[in-house]
């Protein structure tokens, strides 16, 4: 018997909880991926079947790397999005990513969650620098990256998403 223990830390902010993915997160994630207008900047749209494989893959990402996407919950238990560190094989370097589900924007939740994820990555996971890869035209994501203090660094060709813009986050000491 080998225990596949996924010791995914819980990160708490003023209004939010970042926790490991659980089976009940699949439905809101599948709804997100089904919506092209929301998911085009995140590898979408995806069918329900492909969304499940992404979801299972994110859990495996935690097992293989020790980090991945957390599920973001409000303090009253509402699942509102995901944020975390993503680095599948072929990625230029680990990136900080974020997704807000329908109805959760405009409240500063993405900023609050991504900032907490970045801080946790710097303080507890050994990261010294992080990027965020953003598809051209994803202005909301650019605005959040800049609000987080990240700056445009370069264009690069992503193995699955064609040309993306890499934004560089401030280092830990610069936060």
């Amino acid at each position: 018997m080998s225990a596949l223990a996924l010791d995914i830390p819980i990160v708490e902010t003023g209004r939010l909880i970042l926790r490991g993915p659980e089976a009940r997160d699949f439905e809101p994630l599948a709804a997100f991926f089904a919506d092209k207008a929301r998911s085009w900047g995140f590898g979408g749209p995806k069918t329900r079947n492909e969304a499940w494989r992404w979801f299972a893959g994110n859990i495996g990402h935690w097992a293989l790397h020790g980090y991945g996407f957390w599920t973001i919950e409000t303090k009253d238990g509402q699942v509102i999005g995901i944020t975390g560190i993503w680095n599948p094989d072929g990625w230029p370097e680990p990136e900080l990513g974020w997704v807000m589900f329908d109805g959760s924007e405009g409240k500063g939740y993405a900023y609050e969650a991504a900032r907490a994820a970045r801080q946790h990555a710097y303080e507890h996971m050994g990261f010294t620098t992080l990027t965020s890869n953003i598809l051209p035209g994803n202005t909301r994501s650019v605005a959040l990256a800049e609000k987080l203090g990240a700056r445009y660094e370069r264009d690069f060709t992503n193995v699955t998403h064609d040309t993306e813009m890499a934004y560089r986050h401030p280092k830990r000491e610069g936060m």
């Binding site: 018997m1 080998s2 225990a3 596949l4 223990a5 996924l6 010791d7 995914i8 490991g20 993915p21 659980e22 089976a23 699949f26 069918t47 329900r48 079947n49 492909e50 969304a51 499940w52 494989r53 992404w54 979801f55 299972a56 893959g57 994110n58 859990i59 495996g60 990402h61 935690w62 097992a63 293989l64 599948p88 094989d89 072929g90 990625w91 193995v159 699955t160």
Partner: protein
Amino acid sequence: MTAVAIPTLETERLILRAPGPQDFGPFAAFYASPRAGFVGGPLNAEGSWRMLAMEIGHWTLKGFGRWTVIEKGDDTAIGMVGLFEPEGWPEPEIGWDLFNGQEGKGYATEAGRAARSYAYDVLGWDTAISLVKPANLASARVAERLGARHEGDFTHERHGFMQVWRHPAPGEIADGGMEAYA
């Protein structure tokens, strides 16, 4: 905390163990090859990495999954065999992928039988299928050796047209009927 205990199975010649990062090299080499066309490939390295991650997450979400197969005495992955039911699958499946150069030794049959026994004896399944691409004759022969019968077909959005092979039920095996351990 998310956790799942992945059992280790032992057969005469093989160990079925939890998949891990050490399996990525052989896993990606297989999925990059033309033979992977029968099982959702070929995939580039990134696609293979995501697939391996998915195999691990499958255990967490379903409570079962596919094992990495190794020969006793050598931890190098030679295949992935086990129980598979991602979203959109018609029903729980016993699957076997032997990596390149490992065919022809009866390993798929040996590992597939162990996986099926686990499904029936430990998980309590009362039936199981295997999905086989029509051109994958070697895989169909494994299904036959395990006593399964081609009962229909299934078309999947990603994998396309596949044959559905039905395994003997637990009672049929216990009776020593269609599956003699010859």
